[in-house]
Symmetry: C2
Subunit: 593 residues, 2 copies
């Protein structure tokens, strides 16, 4: 069982295609400009000296190569000489400055050459991991091996230093990512050495005496014994992804069980309704079970991405729609909120409530409007590489059975019964729930996920999928009724008690002050009112109008419980679209009567 | 119009008398022992040298003299040779170490003699203020003038330094208190100089160039122009008290209007339902209007006391029951919660919600169980001096009209029509609402406050009081129906939206985990259920049993809104009694259906 690569899929229209076009038109360019201004690309020349501006950072290479990976996906889809020349220039800089022994990190080469591999917190292997992913994408897109050669030489060095010589100051990296990248490299080139190195980092984690435990890095025990998702959420998500990938490659049942426990712990106890994870802002980490604050949650955009990657690796292990349900929740909510509707600015953290007054005096002050670039700017280029490869989540193939996990209009090229086949998906999802498939090819089985939110679906399902036997020329249509649902959180979630989230299809909704006035926490939505599903200029998905009420203003601070209410029509917009119309308070969890 | 001094009132039984006995038996002794252990009394000898343990603090004198003031009130009520000897010893130490020019502060004499009056943050005048109050009480209780002589000499020095020589590094004190103390001293001795000095500190505040503004001390403009309560809440409360006292002495209408604005701002926008003030834990200060968090509010015990003092000074300016309503709210809730039921431990901050799990990861972690002594231990001795003088809040006299503001069983000695008179109050308040008065003396008018919470009172009232013409031998009885009320906060209070507080009489109630299990925020009280008012061993006021419901446990993190509920009987205890049965989560603001 294997996810169908996004290279086999071309999106032809609809929701995600529009975001891909926004990416090509705006996001890629905007992130490039911000990175250029801050010296991130110049740093690849490794010639920074004291007194010069834009001192490199230990993680800058990862920002740059994630952008390059995204650019490569664009090149793969469509020639763009100008863009290609930009990427070629960066590759040339990296290749020119790679050390004789294979090492490359623009910070350590230019700033602290003696400190190479001396600190577990230094992100070198994290940067290499992302560089491996970029190298594969660049090689596929352009046929140019330069960057792949660089990472192969660097990976050889890492193999020598960490396995053969055991000469680094640490055994496993402080920021995981290289593990999943090595497994991707193994899948791409088939070299056993890369599998061995990935396995080494995974096997030695949490069971050696040399790794400094800085409390945030999934070190508490050997990975196969992990019971709970813990620590820095982005690191955790990347690590768990690699664990699931290795479990599949090795048929490692113990590792798979650990992944099952971790996945279940996240999605049943530690995930915001938007798919955001890592609610503890103090260390960007998972908090204890059911601790899901709204206004001061962290929910880093990269963490949402890492959860989608983990779920995607899990769906290659077993055909359970729960993985695609989680991916869908992430993509349409906590991931997409990370980028502005004009593609020019980004959220690092993605709160579920904004009370701007409170932030003035709070010890934690999340940003309430997206910004163009961060000091630690991992999220924007992660968006750049995710959008052009978003179709990676759409399908999983198991022989002649194809699972359709995500609904994105487009055409997928397959091999079925040893022959080329194509499946076309036509849909306006998530605006409506009609999905049509047209098939050309040898007989196959199409399993269409019926999402967990679609409780009104009345067709026959098996294990959460609607199954169709398709032969050449067949069309099938699935209709997913899109009712507006009021969702409650587990009673153990203290912050959501007495409150409900509004969801339509995969979209979680929110109230914004700009539409509804202030005091959002005092709004009660009326369950029995007529709910209108409408379009609003500038918002790329339906908005909802729901009958609502709020209390009258009062001069008194305390008074007897008073039932009188003022009626109004509340407007709810998709969560991902919040904070696009100026500074505004916002609320997801609302009272409902 | 003047408050009747507690020296004219002897409580003879009931709620507050029991607390006075607890104070005499336990609190005074416990605070003494903790202060002795930490070297606070020894510091009065002013012989601390480097390398010795228990280095004095700049504010230690204030802790000690507040304890002395409380002890003097006990001596005033009843001879106690052992207690008097203790206080005499302290007075002797202070007198022996007073500087030749009159200065006394055990820290600056022993540790930094050169720094005298050099820093506005140094609490010297704050300590002197409390010493003045202690000296008056000691003089009254024992007839010994020693401490009064000390403070008179010290006050002369302050007058010289601050007014005549203008030689201190600051003009007005960083921590107010001396202003109200000087006005008390003026009332006690009638010396114009003390009034002049008090007026100086009040008039110069907020309008001189020499006071360092450290952002927390009511410096934003001249006092008569203040619009909003701001800054450190204890300091504010003491200052506003002095402002109201001066307005009365001087008939200063402008000052009175400022006091009216400040009082209204506090009680209509910045006061917890428990009477706690200063909700911003970052600087122990007033936050912006309606910012009244529950689990991370500050609400210092001393701030509650300072609000009662301010309201008490206001009720000498005009016969409006709102002042007594606020005093009652403070005394039975946010003040009394500051001391454990066994008198052995104290709260500095008084939250309205405890979620112990959340505190583990929160940036702000209030204590969840009372402790025996604090590094900055201003609150425990403040309790020691408030309890024996609690009757100070009970009555205000205006010629032959007596206002009964607070309900406390006891006997008050008065002068009516030029002759001695006595009024006896018999009540089991707040357990029930029946209050009987028996009068001996010349004809007078008794105005009994009908509390704001008592909406069911059907008797005739004038301006919030029930009026009775009494002559010698008369008895009257007032019955205040004590229904259980569900109270809502102003819609602008974000933290209380959709939630209600339960109040019976003056007592605000809370749910504790020890009675109701965890997940308190998920409890919904049923308004229409039968409510039982019961006694519980060890809790000195009625507890309530109210029908309630909560959700069933669930494995799912998110699910469709589900109306099924589990019924149970919730037990609510008076807020002041929370945290007396081990560590427990607690909640004031509850859902109600």
């Amino acid at each position: 069982m294997q996810n169908v690569s996004h290279e086999q899929i071309r999106l032809t229209g609809g929701f995600w295609r529009e975001y891909q076009e926004l990416n090509r038109k705006a996001i890629v360019k905007n992130v490039y400009d911000r990175f250029a201004e801050t010296g991130r690309f110049a740093a690849l020349k490794c010639n920074w000296r004291e007194e010069m501006p834009n001192k490199p950072h230990i993680f800058w290479d990862s920002d740059v190569v994630k952008w390059m990976e995204g650019a490569a996906y664009l090149l793969l889809e469509e020639k763009d000489a100008e863009l290609e020349a930009l990427v070629d220039g960066m590759v040339a800089d990296i290749a020119a400055n790679q050390c004789a022994d294979g090492y490359f990190n623009s910070y350590f080469i230019a700033v602290e050459p003696a400190k190479r591999f001396s600190g577990r917190r230094n992100h070198e292997l994290y940067c290499l991991g992302h560089m491996i992913e970029a190298a594969i994408a660049y090689d596929k897109a352009t046929g140019k091996r330069t960057l792949l050669d660089v990472v192969l030489r660097y990976t050889d060095l890492v193999y020598r230093v960490f396995i053969e010589e055991d000469s680094a100051k640490f055994v496993t990296p402080g920021h995981e990512e290289i593990e999943l990248a090595l497994l991707k490299l193994y899948a791409y080139l088939g070299e056993e050495k890369h599998l061995t190195l990935a396995r080494f980092f995974l096997d030695r984690r949490g069971c050696n005496d040399r790794d400094e435990d800085f409390g945030n890095v999934q070190d508490e025990r050997p990975l196969r014994e992990l019971e709970e998702a813990s620590g820095h959420a982005v690191r955790a998500g990347y690590l768990y992804t690699a664990m699931a990938m290795l479990a599949r490659i090795d048929g490692d049942a113990e590792m798979k069980q650990a992944c099952d426990r971790l996945f279940s712990d996240i999605v049943n106890r530690k995930m915001s309704i938007t798919g955001g994870i890592g609610s503890d802002h103090k260390s960007e980490r998972f908090s204890y079970a059911y601790d899901l604050p709204n206004s001061d949650t962290y929910n880093e955009t990269c963490a949402a991405i890492s959860l989608a990657l983990f779920a995607s690796a899990m769906q290659e292990l077993s055909p359970d729609p729960v993985y695609a349900d989680v991916i869908e929740r992430v993509l349409y909510n906590g991931f997409l909120s990370g980028v502005a509707l004009d593609g020019g600015s980004f959220f690092y953290t993605n709160p579920l409530e904004i009370d701007r007054k409170k932030y003035q005096r709070s010890t934690y002050q999340p940003i309430c409007e997206r910004v163009k670039v961060f000091t630690c700017s991992c999220c924007p280029p992660n968006v750049v590489r995710m959008l052009p490869s978003i179709a990676r989540f759409a399908y999983t193939q198991d022989g002649d059975t194809l699972y359709c996990n995500q609904f994105m209009q487009g055409k997928v090229s397959l091999r079925i019964g040893g022959k080329d086949a194509t499946l076309e998906q036509i849909t306006d999802y998530p605006n409506d729930g009609r999905i049509t498939f047209r098939y050309r090819g040898e007989p196959m089985t199409l399993c269409v996920r019926i999402p967990d939110w679609c409780v009104e679906y009345t067709g026959r399902t098996e294990g959460g999928y609607a199954r169709f036997a398709l032969k050449d020329g067949d069309s099938v249509c699935v209709e997913l009724p899109m009712q507006v649902h009021f969702i409650e959180a587990n009673p153990n979630v203290q912050d959501d008690a007495g409150r409900y989230a509004v969801q339509r299809g995969p979209l979680v909704y929110c109230l914004e002050e700009v539409d509804n006035g202030g005091n959002l926490r005092d709004v009660t939505l009326l369950e029995q009112s007529e709910i209108r599903v409408e379009r609003l200029a500038g918002i790329p998905a339906p908005v909802l109008s729901i009958g609502a009420e709020r209390r009258y203003e009062s001069d008194r601070l305390y008074r007897l419980k008073d039932g009188r209410r003022m009626s109004f029509t509340a407007r709810l917009i998709p969560y991902f679209a919040f904070a696009n119309r100026g500074a505004s308070d916002m609320l997801v969890w609302t009272m409902v009567r």
